[in-house]
């Protein structure tokens, strides 16, 4: 067999290795990811202007305020293309399935401390709507982002967020025995509870943020870099203190989703900052607009940290999030902002 293929390949030489336009991608040797990602987006000779937005082309760089010389040079650090994305997420879903089986076998949900169940029912079913709203926002990001590599990440994130909303729903269904109306109550809280109004207001505003880079950065570097660690790292630590393994066991999946978003967005922002200095001001304006509001929305939600039997000060939890996630990302790594302030009512040490 080996001999057969070798003989063939010696006598019959390929006349080229890849598509001629691949020479435009600044990599040494294009990989499979590069080949099926680079330069798919149409850029010229458009026939018609969109009837719903005749000022712009079907694909148009002017749908965001940030600018870039060559958007197609972006590379996803995870190098996901459709196949590897599916392999990765299929494995991810198997792990989730295993965790649900463990939860069933060991009664993680049934034996959860009642006070902690009361904590979870207060915010977890609410967050499924939040994540769904982000997913809708990312349908627009996917449609309008420039360059295949970037919109591809946004497409996967959009689908991931639907998956996350479905995961949160399934965890809630696991708690239905204890709290039969958990999903209905959650939706009502999302609509009416003061703790979440600010978050919902921001989510709805995100869904109508038509500058795709703003929506992307606001979601991945601001909203999610606070909301995810707050509930799936800080609250997870509280869960462990309260013996609520059923909660803690699923948090890693949420954090993994956040880490994917963060990694490609960080790479994108670095590319944009390196591409031209004017981008810094634009990205700063996004952060300045969203960060104080998201911190405020997070503060509104902190009372949920008072609910567990062994409770912690919610302010401390938020402070941890800012210190461990937000500041290292925005101040140290990306250097987009120099300081981060919370509302006056309390001080971050």
């Amino acid at each position: 067999m080996a001999n057969y293929t070798q003989v063939g390949s010696e006598a019959i030489k390929p006349i080229r290795k890849t598509y001629s336009y691949m020479s435009g991608l600044k990599v040494k040797r294009p990989t499979t990811y590069d080949e099926c990602t680079y330069n798919l987006e149409p850029k010229e000779n458009f026939h018609y202007k969109p009837i719903w937005n005749p000022e712009l082309n079907i694909f148009d760089e002017r749908r965001t305020r940030v600018k870039c010389e060559d958007w197609e040079q972006f590379r996803d650090p995870s190098k996901f293309y459709y196949a590897t994305y599916c392999y990765n997420r299929a494995d991810f879903q198997s792990r989730i399935k295993g965790q649900f089986e463990a939860a069933d076998r060991y009664g993680w949900f049934e034996k959860m401390d009642p006070a902690f169940i009361d904590t979870v029912r207060e915010f977890l079913p609410v967050l499924r709507h939040f994540v769904f709203g982000e997913s809708v926002a990312f349908m627009h990001v996917g449609r309008t982002a420039v360059g295949t590599a970037i919109e591809q990440c946004a497409t996967y994130q959009c689908y991931d967020e639907l998956g996350t909303a479905q995961l949160l729903t399934r965890i809630c269904l696991g708690l239905e025995e204890q709290v039969p109306s958990i999903l209905q109550d959650g939706k009502q809280k999302w609509m009416e509870d003061e703790k979440f109004l600010k978050l919902r207001a921001l989510t709805e505003r995100l869904m109508v943020t038509w500058d795709w880079a703003e929506a992307l950065i606001a979601t991945n570097l601001v909203l999610d870099s606070i909301v995810y660690p707050l509930f799936f790292e800080e609250m997870t630590a509280v869960a462990m203190e309260n013996g609520a393994i059923g909660y803690a066991a699923f948090s890693q999946f949420l954090m993994e989703m956040y880490e994917y978003e963060k990694s490609y967005t960080t790479a994108l922002v670095k590319m944009l900052l390196a591409d031209r200095p004017e981008n810094k001001e634009v990205i700063q304006s996004y952060i300045k607009k969203w960060l104080p509001e998201v911190i405020e929305a997070a503060e509104e939600m902190l009372p949920v940290f008072d609910l567990p039997r062994k409770a912690i000060d919610g302010k401390l939890a938020l402070e941890n999030v800012l210190e461990k996630h937000v500041k290292p990302l925005l101040i140290d790594e990306l250097q987009i902002v120099s300081s981060i302030q919370t509302r006056q009512v309390w001080e971050v040490k």
Binding site: T5, G8, A11, I12, P14, I15, R16, K17, Y19, S20, Y21, E35, C36, T37, L40, P42, K43, N45, H47, Y48, K49, I51, W52, I58, F59, Y81, Y82, A83, C86, Y87, R89, A90, Q93, I96, K97, F132, S135, V136, M139, G142, T148, E151, T155, C158, Y159, L162, G163, A165, Q166, T169, R170, E177, P180, L183, K187, M191, R200, E204, R205, V208
Partner: protein, 496 residues
Amino acid sequence: MAKKKRGLKEEYNLLTRDLDWDPTFVTREEMYPYTDFEGIKIHNWNNLEDPFRVTVESYVRIQGEKERKFHAIRENIDLLQGQLDMTDARWLEAMKIFSSVALNGEYNAHRLFQFIARHVPSPAIRFAAITQSVDELRHVQNEVLLFNNYNKYYQGFHDWKNYAHRHWLTSVVKSFFEDAQSAGPFEALVAIAFGFEVAFTNLLFVTMGATAVANRDQSYGAVSFTTQSDESRHMTLGMMALRAMIEEDPDNIPIVQKFLDKWFWKAYRAFTVVGYILDYIAPKKVMSWKEAYEMYIEDQVLNGLFKDLEVYGIRKPKYWEQTVQEKEHNSHIAALVLYRLPHVLYFHPFAPTEEDKKWLAEKYPESWENIWSKKWEAFEDPNFDRLYPGLPMVCQTCQYPMFFDEPGQPGFNTAFRTSEHEGEVYHFCSDGCKDIFDDEPDKIKQAWLPPHEIFKGTCGPAEDLANYWGMEPEDGGDYYESVDHQNFEKWKKVRA
């Protein structure tokens, strides 16, 4: 307390449509700015049924398995030089045409379904549409990777992106998808989900897939079967969306009818080239265009789907009779015209062989002897100058060269229609194309017509056109004189 017992439908609702809510901090108009302008009325978005029930969990699992199989096949074909299993490399001319139009089509569909998912405010349509968007990304990526197997050994694949966006012939399909991309969300849904997917994709992935297999082209065989497994979901979305629009309000009927008239005709015209592939390019032929049209379009669509829609007051698409009449002729027209353009094509046209002619005579008893064989015979005259001078004039709407005949006068009388708009005259190949223009002149007049742009100088100097199109000198010319033909014959002997 026992766990709640739920039906699958109810549980699926909780995983999808129950996630949605009515916004209060922004208005509905701000949230869904493009929902109303087309005039489609939906009274209760929750009435809309889910086209299918796929969760993210089941999707990535099923698709991941399909991908593992597909990529194993793809890598194997490459490793074992599966291209040499083909009966005849002439089949690749079909693949060159396919790759230069389909990759761009799939990619546009990927982005378009994000737009539909975002702007049609139905959670049921939204989830189906975003899933389709992800599927379409799959299709374009798999095709790009698979066609690179051919690209390594043959001409005509190496710059599909430039062929797709710059070449005069591909603008037929480019403009088809861009018309949908620039339409409102409901028209786009009817255009692609119904007009393209439901009505026509069987021809692309079933008929052409079977032809690929008959010609022992494992690559396109693999692509079409795995693609078709997603298409069935897309067709369900198309049917469900169409029914929802029709059933929700009688005022929607004339709007939907207009969409159907336009997109059936556009898709029909765009698929002309498939007839050329089935009847001429395929070395081993499975089914003629005429037979394929009868089975997939006449039986299944015109006398099937449209029959079911009659009760709602939807009639068959305008000019359907003409499409049935033309099934005898259009593949021959396309072949005859393309034959004369080997110098401006990135694939290799050719005259039918004696074997081809025998088959054509058998499949087209009514038109071959009387009309089309005579046209080919005329080309055998030693004084005949094969190369068509200059560039063909194209139809403003479908953008094919103006080569279609007057209905009922095949082979003798090229159809020619015009419309005047703002003092300019626009040209069309048919009443169907003229009607589309007359209905939306301000949109269709914008078309980037390659011959016009070439004369304007947009595409650079005329002597450098081939380069602008992304062509290498060996891309064009007759198949039987091509490097591809020579190499294939040589390599096949080496391997034997």
